[in-house]
Amino acid sequence: MLAYIVRRLLYAVPILIGVNLLTFLLFFVVNTPDDMARMQLGMKRVSEEAITNWKQERGYDKPVIYNAEAEGVERFTETIFFQHSVRLFVFDFGRSDSGRDIGHDIAERMWPSLAIALPTFVIGILVNITFALLMVFFRATYVDLWGVVLCVILMSISGLFYIIGGQYLVGKVLHLVPISGYDDGINAIKFVILPVLIGVISGIGSGTRWYRTIFLEESGKDYVRTARAKGLSELQVLFRHVLRNALIPILTGAVVVLPLLFMGSLIMESFFGIPGLGSYTIDAINGQDFAIVRAMVFLGSVLYILGLLLTDISYTLVDPRIRLQ
């Protein structure tokens, strides 16, 4: 087991190097730092001095990959590639283009993101599985048919409309909770309820349909027929046999996204004014803060790879047939 985990972690290294090279290419080779400076400072008639200043403040004034002027190891360390890309491997995100410490910001903004994303995720899965089980219980009846139709209709509505509609209805017409904002500690609850509710509702369509397919596939198998044949009630079959066996594909989908919950939801957080990592990213995009976007890309891939690893480990926990070697 331990050997497997170590090997998987080692396997992640070339992928992270790939991600790093890709972002490096995207951010420093497609456009030179000069281009970025000009973009940030306004396009028209920027003096050379201003550009040089801008680059110096952010450490973009060094050569890209190889520094011929330096001595020894510094030929490779005193470069943009080393200073801005290689350092990401030890989670040293450096400073944002506006001068703030990115690592500190991330650590601070992670928690509000999690406060929204985790409840949305857990409640969402429970609700979807409940609905899917109901539909499978009533399969081949009108409940199932109209359930599927409703799911397709819910799926066809853009997520933006769920948010706008929910904010309007709950926040503005009913005045139950504040429309947006955030607070620390226990006071956060009244700000969290609405985003979580909307997040759960907007996911019902596709989620329920997906779980229904899994359950249906499982309930067509031979062991289910055997279970029915030996006289188990339909409820017992569903909960004791179908649900437990269907947990394996459900886990694959769920565990992968678990670490990514830290990143929060871009849209949700910006609509509700929650100071999490999602709105951090949006602000960075709108403010064209390249350093933050770069850091978030790297962080996102690290969390994704972590999710893949967790998925493999969770397989062994739920499915005794699978052994990792």
Partner: protein
């Protein structure tokens, strides 16, 4: 259908294309306009030719015809196909661009062209395009949404809701005539819709009657009793709904702002119609661009295995491990910088916006090919062990030929299903990306931009809701139709589902 008639079909297609092109060129020469071929236009044409070619190819092959017939037999699948075709029709009208000539006043042939790039759809919608107000106005309103200070001839001033320049301008006394006028127009619109419907349906019924060798009466009876293989009554019914909407729009839109106006007074109905092309382009071109890579790499990974497999797997795992939105955001940010630094690449604003749309498709394609590639790799791994492929290998058939003859035709159903399933997701993604600020150009008409513009007015009292409504209705209908159609296609083509 014999190969001979397939060839005849191709010649007919070519003839039609030449005729259309000739007509277009003639119209351009006559009006003195300059045709503009945008990047996405060209790709849209390529896509249309590819689809028509595929239809001609599939017609003569029973194994391809059969699943499609199954799609058409599904009532919901057929209805959604008709709706999708209506959207595609509008999108295609909006994909023929030109710049009108500007009279330079020198008497000679004008050499200057307007900076504005128009499409055929713009020509059709000229009354809508030019009927702009000062600012917001509600749907069917005759008065502005905001109060304005008006100075009367006698020098006195008052803050009132002024009359709109175009919305309901034909009414002498809006308070009294407004409701009656709208009702009358509704009635006229329905009647017009009915007439259009009859005109559309007549040739269809005539064609069916000839095909079935029946008289019209019998054919009509057969259609409406549902006695034929394909439920044609669904087509007629869907067409009726669409024609009714068209008739209403034709009568109402020139006199009222059906969906109101936006902040700068532009008609929202016009904007929503223009957004159709953007949505369709993102939904289709993205897959068109990524398809060759996904198919080629996926099949080679599974077929050749060894180091080829390792390299391709590494490639898509790396791309896949970056969260999609972030990769898109990073790429679009860089694109913005590049475009800001190279303004010499495009002549007009429309060309710049179009290039950005094109690159957005490319970027979306890069982030979305990995799933299909992985599926194809798995399928190719299975197929290479199949007897007929083993036999071909033993006979010494070259790899390229085995892939082309044996592997590729056997994975095409996966490709088709994933293309159709991806479409609706991409249309929805466009709205979200435009909201985040990394979508299409802000000057381009798109549902995402429409929502984004309206969102800022949410806090206003009373609320400006019509832009949201328009974007919602247009997107919802398209995505719903696409989802239903995708379900029908998946059920017909997926061998696992067909057995049941």
């Amino acid at each position: 259908m014999s190969p001979l008639s397939a060839r005849k079909g191709i010649f007919m297609l070519l003839g039609l294309l030449v005729a259309l092109g000739g007509f277009y060129a003639g119209a351009m020469a006559f009006t003195g306009a300059k045709p503009v071929l945008l990047w996405t236009d060209a790709l849209v044409y390529v896509l249309v030719v590819a689809i028509v070619g595929f239809v001609l190819y599939a017609r003569s092959r029973e194994h391809l015809r059969d699943p499609w017939r199954q799609v058409f037999r599904r009532r919901l699948g057929l209805a959604s196909l008709v709706v999708l075709l209506a959207y595609v029709f509008i999108g295609l009208l909006d994909s023929v661009h030109f710049r009108t000539a500007v009279d330079t006043g020198e008497g000679e042939r004008p050499a200057a062209y307007a900076g504005e790039v128009l499409s055929v759809l713009d020509l059709v919608l000229t009354p809508l395009r030019e009927s702009s107000e000062k600012t917001y106005s509600a749907p069917f309103a005759t008065h502005s949404f905001a109060k304005e200070t008006v100075e009367y001839p006698d020098g006195s001033r008052a803050r009132i809701y002024p009359r709109l320049r175009h919305g309901g301008a034909h009414l002498a006394d809006p308070e009294r005539e407004h409701a009656a006028d709208i009702l009358a127009k509704l009635a006229w619109g329905s009647l017009l819709g009915l007439i259009i419907w009859v005109l559309l349906v007549l040739p269809l019924v005539a064609w069916l009657a000839r095909r079935w060798r029946m008289s019209w009466n019998v054919a009509l009876g057969r259609i409406f009793r549902g006695r034929c293989d394909i439920p044609w009554w669904v087509v007629l019914l869907t067409l009726a709904v669409l024609c009714l909407l068209l008739g209403l729009a034709l009568v109402l839109a020139p006199h009222y702002h059906v969906f109101g106006t936006d902040k700068v007074g532009e008609d929202v109905f016009y904007q929503s119609l223009k957004s159709i092309r953007t949505g369709l382009v993102i939904g289709t071109l993205t897959t068109l661009i990524m398809l060759p890579f996904a198919v080629l790499l996926g099949i080679s990974a599974g077929y050749f295995r060894g180091w080829v497999d390792d390299v391709i797997q590494y490639l898509y795992t790396t791309l896949n491990s970056i969260p999609g939105v972030l990769l898109i955001a990073a790429a679009v940010l860089m694109l913005q910088v590049y475009m800001a630094n190279h303004p010499e690449l495009f002549e007009t604003d429309a060309q710049r916006a179009d290039l950005r749309l094109f690159f957005l498709c490319v970027i979306l394609g890069i982030t979305s090919w990995t799933g299909l590639c992985r599926m194809l790799r798995g399928e190719a791994l299975k197929l290479r062990e199949v007897d007929y492929v083993q036999a071909a290998t033993a006979f010494g058939v070259r790899h390229g030929r085995i892939i082309g003859r044996h592997i590729q035709p056997n994975v095409m159903h996966i490709v088709l299903i994933s293309v159709v399933l991806d479409f609706s997701g991409l249309v929805l993604a466009e709205a979200v990306l435009s909201y985040v600020g990394v979508g299409v150009d802000p000057t381009m008409y798109s549902w995402g931009n429409l929502i984004n513009g309206a969102r800022l007015e949410m806090a206003r009292e009373p609320m400006v809701w019509w832009s949201l409504l328009a974007a919602f209705v247009f997107m919802f209908v398209l995505v719903l139709a696409a989802n239903l159609f995708a379900d029908a296609v998946r059920d017909a083509f997926d061998p696992r589902l067909r057995k049941q």
